[in-house]
Symmetry: C2
Subunit: 448 residues, 2 copies
C-alpha cells in the first residue's frame, strides 16, 4: 500500500503537480512524509518541505536523518528556521544540535527564542548517555490541590506542547515531585475530587545522572509510558518517554553486538560511517587479538619436532581450535546476553559453570565419538591417533565452555563490559588451551 | 530504596506480621510485589498472594514467572481461580496457558466464564509469532457518529477493562476499521463535534497473520502506543500495545544473538533451560562446523611436506586463521545487525563490498606491516618468511572482510536468516581460504 502511494507521489512530483503532492502528504503519517522527502531529488526535497503546513513541518523535520536536517537548516532563511526550531520538542532539538557543526549550532541558537535557547543550552550540558540526555522538559505538571476538573482543563489548554499527556506529574511549589496520576484515572474519577486524593504517591523515578540504559530498563520493566527525572534536590526536571526508551535499548543492544564482534561501537549507521572510521573501530581489536595469538604460535613452534615426527597431527589443528572457539563462543554469547537482560548475575557463577560443564560433557562426548570413528575409518590402523583426537576434543570442549561461561561473569564482577568477553577473545584464549591439551595428549599417548 | 523495602518486608514476613506486609505491598508497584512474592519462601508466597485485594491480585499474577503461576494455579480453589482468570487480560491468559501442562489448561478453561473461555480458545488458535498471537481484544472501539462527549463518557465507563484507552479505534456496524482518534485529540476537541470530524482516516494496521516482528517494527517506527490488527475482511479483532512490541523486539534480538553464536535459539531464560536442551541447541552447529573444518584439515594434510621442510611455518597458522576469522566476523556482525535494523538491504551488496574492501585494505596493511617487522626482529635473516606472512595476512583480511560482508546479504536475498552467517560460519569458511592463500604464497616465495 505504502509503495503504491510512493509511486503516485513520485509521478506527481515529476510532473510538478505540487498542490496534489501536498494534498497527498497531508493525509500521510509524518514518518512516511519524512521518508518520502528524504528519497526525493535534493532540489525537490526543499521545495516539498517548504509546502508543508507549519505544525506538520516540525513533526516531519524531527524524523529526518542528520544529513537532511543539515541540508535544510543551511538553506533556510532565519525566519523559516525560527518557526521550525521553536516548534521542535526540546529533546529533538538537542539531539539534532549535537550532530551539527559548530557554525550551524551557533546560528540555530541565535535564531531560537530566548526561552528555547536557555533550555537547549541547559540540556546540552547533560552528560552523554545520562538519563537527562534523553529526557524532555515538556510534560504535564499538576498541583495537589487542583480538582480533577481543573486538571482536565489544564491538560486541554497545555497538552498540545507536551510530549505525552497521559502520565501527569504532581509537584509542590518548589517543583519537588510528589505524585503521579494518569489520564485514565482522571477520566474515571469524579470531577470534584482533589488530585491529592487520587494520585499515587509511590513514584518510581531516576536522577539526571543515572545511566540512560538503566532508565530504559525501568520503563521496560514496569511498562511505563514515561519515567520522571529529578535533580539532586528531587525537583522534577523532565521525563523520558517510552519511545525514547525503545530507541535507547536498541542503541545499547547494537553497541553490545558490535563489542561482541570485536569492534569499537559506532554511533552512525553502517552506510553512513566513513571507511577510515570503520577501520579505526576494527583495527584495535584485530591487533590485540593477533598479538595474543603469538602465544598459540609459540606453543606450536616449541612442538615443531612432534609435527616433523608425525606430520598428520598438523591437519587436526583447525578442527580442534575452531571447535574449541565455537563451543566457548556459544557459552559466552548466552551468558553475555543473559547478563544484559538481567537474568543472571556474577554471583551465579557456580550455577553457570556447573551447567556449562554438564552441557560440555554431553557435546564433547558426541563430537569425540564422531571424530574417533571418522579417523579410524579414514586412517586405518591409526587407532591411537583417533583416541588422541577424541580425548583432546572432549577436554577442549569442556575447557572452552568453562572459560566461555565464566569470563563474562568475571568481567561483569570487575565492572567491565561483559560483551568484550565474546567469541573473538574466547577463541584466542581457548586456542592456546586446546593446543596445549592436544600436544600433551599426543605426547603421552603417541610418545612423540 | 527498593532494597531497604525488601529487607523490611522480609523481616515483617519472618515475624508473620501479615497485616503489615499487606499494608506495605499495597503501596508498591505490582511488578515489585510480584518480584517480592517470587523470592519469598514457597509456603509463604501463596499466603501473601492470597492476602492481596482482588484487583491487585490479577495484576501481580500477570507478572509472575511460569513456575510461580503454575504453583499458584495448582494450589488454588476453583473459586479463587475463577476470580483471577476472569480478571486477567486475554493476551496474558493465553500466554500463560501456552506454557502450562494440558491438565492445568483444561481446569483453567473449565473454570473461566463462557465469554472468556471462547476468546481464549480463539486466541490459542493463532499461529505462534504472528501479530495475532501478541494482540489483545480489549480496546476502546468508537462509532463515527458519536460526539466527543459521548466518546469520553464511553471511555469513562469501559476504560477499566481496556489494555490502553489512549488510542481509540472507530469501527462501522460490521466492526470494519474506519479511523483512529487519540484521547489527546478528544480532550482538546469541542464536546459537540462528531468523531467522524476529528478522527484520522489514514490508519496504519497489520493483519492477523503478519509476523509479530514486523508489527513491532511498525510500532517502533511510528512511535505508536498501539497498532490495530484486522482479519481478512478488515474487521478489527485486536490491538498490539507498545509494551508487548518492546518484549517482541527484545525476544527477537535475543534469538538473533543466539543464532549469531551458532546456537538454536531457546525460549526459556538460561538458568531455567535444562542441560539436555542446551546441549541439543548447541551440538548441531558444533557438528556441522567441525565437519566443515575437515576441508581445512585436508588442505593442511596435502601440504605436509611443506611443513616438514620448513617447520616454522606451522607456528603462524593460528595467527593467520584467527585474524581472518576475526576480520570476517567483524564485517558479518555489522552487516547482520544493519540488516535487522533495516539500515541496509540485499541490493546494497555492491556498496557494502566496496566499503569492506577499502576497510580491509587499511586494516590488512597495518597488520601486515606490524607482522613483517615482528618476524624480521624475532627471526633475523628470515626476510622471505616475513614477506610471505605479510602478503598472506593482507590477502586474508581482504578475502575475509569480503566474505563476511557479502554472505549475510546473500542469505537475506535467499530469505534465510542472515544471523546464521555470523562469526562461526564465516570463521570456518575463511579458515580454508586463508590456509590456501598462505600455503600458495609460501610455495611461490619460499619455493617449498
Amino acid at each position: 500500500m505504502m509503495n503504491e502511494k510512493n509511486v503516485l507521489l513520485t509521478t506527481l512530483l515529476e510532473n510538478r503537480e505540487y498542490l496534489n503532492v501536498r494534498k497527498e502528504l497531508l493525509e500521510m503519517n509524518e514518518v512516511d512524509v519524512a521518508n518520502f522527502i528524504e528519497e526525493a531529488p535534493a532540489e525537490e526535497a526543499a521545495v516539498v518541505f517548504r509546502m508543508l503546513p507549519k505544525d506538520l513541518a516540525a513533526d516531519v523535520f524531527t524524523e529526518f536523518n542528520t544529513d537532511m536536517k543539515h541540508h535544510l537548516v543551511v538553506t533556510m532563511t532565519d525566519q523559516e528556521l525560527y518557526s521550525i526550531i521553536n516548534d521542535l520538542a526540546v529533546d529533538d532539538a538537542v539531539d539534532m544540535l549535537e550532530e551539527m557543526p559548530a557554525t550551524v549550532v551557533e546560528r540555530v541558537l541565535k535564531t531560537a527564542d530566548p526561552n528555547m535557547r536557555n533550555t537547549i543550552n541547559q540540556f546540552m550540558q547533560y552528560k552523554k548517555d545520562s538519563a537527562a540526555s534523553v529526557m524532555t522538559p515538556e510534560f504535564i505538571g499538576l498541583k495537589e490541590d487542583m480538582t480533577v476538573r481543573e486538571a482536565i482543563d489544564y491538560i486541554r489548554e497545555n497538552g498540545q506542547d507536551s510530549e505525552t499527556i497521559y502520565t501527569c506529574y504532581v509537584m509542590d511549589a518548589k517543583r519537588v515531585l510528589e505524585g503521579v496520576v494518569t489520564v485514565k484515572t482522571l477520566l474515571v474519577s469524579e470531577l470534584d475530587k482533589k488530585i491529592s486524593e487520587i494520585m499515587s504517591k509511590n513514584v518510581i523515578f531516576v536522577t539526571t545522572d543515572e545511566d540512560q540504559e538503566e532508565a530504559a530498563k525501568i520503563i521496560s520493566k514496569y511498562d511505563f509510558l514515561a519515567l520522571p527525572v529529578v535533580d539532586s534536590e528531587n525537583r522534577l526536571v523532565g521525563i523520558i518517554t517510552y519511545d525514547d526508551a525503545m530507541d535507547v535499548m536498541t542503541e545499547e543492544t547494537t553497541e553490545d553486538i558490535e563489542r561482541m564482534g570485536a569492534m569499537v561501537p559506532s554511533e552512525t549507521p553502517y552506510l553512513k560511517t566513513p571507511v577510515i572510521k570503520l577501520a579505526k573501530n576494527r583495527i584495535v581489536w584485530l591487533m590485540v587479538l593477533m598479538i595474543t595469538d603469538m602465544i598459540s604460535g609459540g606453543i606450536l613452534a616449541s612442538w615443531q619436532e612432534a609435527f616433523t615426527a608425525m606430520p598428520i597431527l598438523i591437519s587436526f589443528i583447525p578442527m580442534l581450535t575452531d571447535t574449541g572457539g565455537n563451543a566457548g563462543g556459544q557459552a559466552s554469547t548466552l551468558i553475555i546476553r543473559s547478563l544484559a537482560m538481567g537474568e543472571i548475575r556474577p554471583k551465579d557463577w557456580y550455577r553457570v559453570w556447573w551447567k556449562e560443564a554438564r552441557v560440555a560433557v554431553i557435546c564433547g562426548f558426541f563430537l569425540a565419538v564422531f571424530d574417533v570413528a571418522r579417523i579410524w575409518i579414514m586412517y586405518p590402523g591409526q587407532y591411537l591417533v583417533g583416541i588422541t583426537i577424541g580425548i583432546a576434543l572432549f577436554c577442549t570442549v569442556v575447557m572452552a565452555k568453562s572459560v566461555g561461561g565464566i569470563l563474562p561473569l568475571i568481567a561483569a564482577k570487575l565492572k567491565l563490559d561483559p560483551a568484550v568477553m565474546a567469541s573473538p577473545v574466547i577463541t584466542t584464549i581457548v586456542d592456546a588451551g586446546s593446543l596445549l591439551i592436544y600436544l600433551n595428549t599426543a605426547a603421552f599417548l603417541l610418545r612423540i
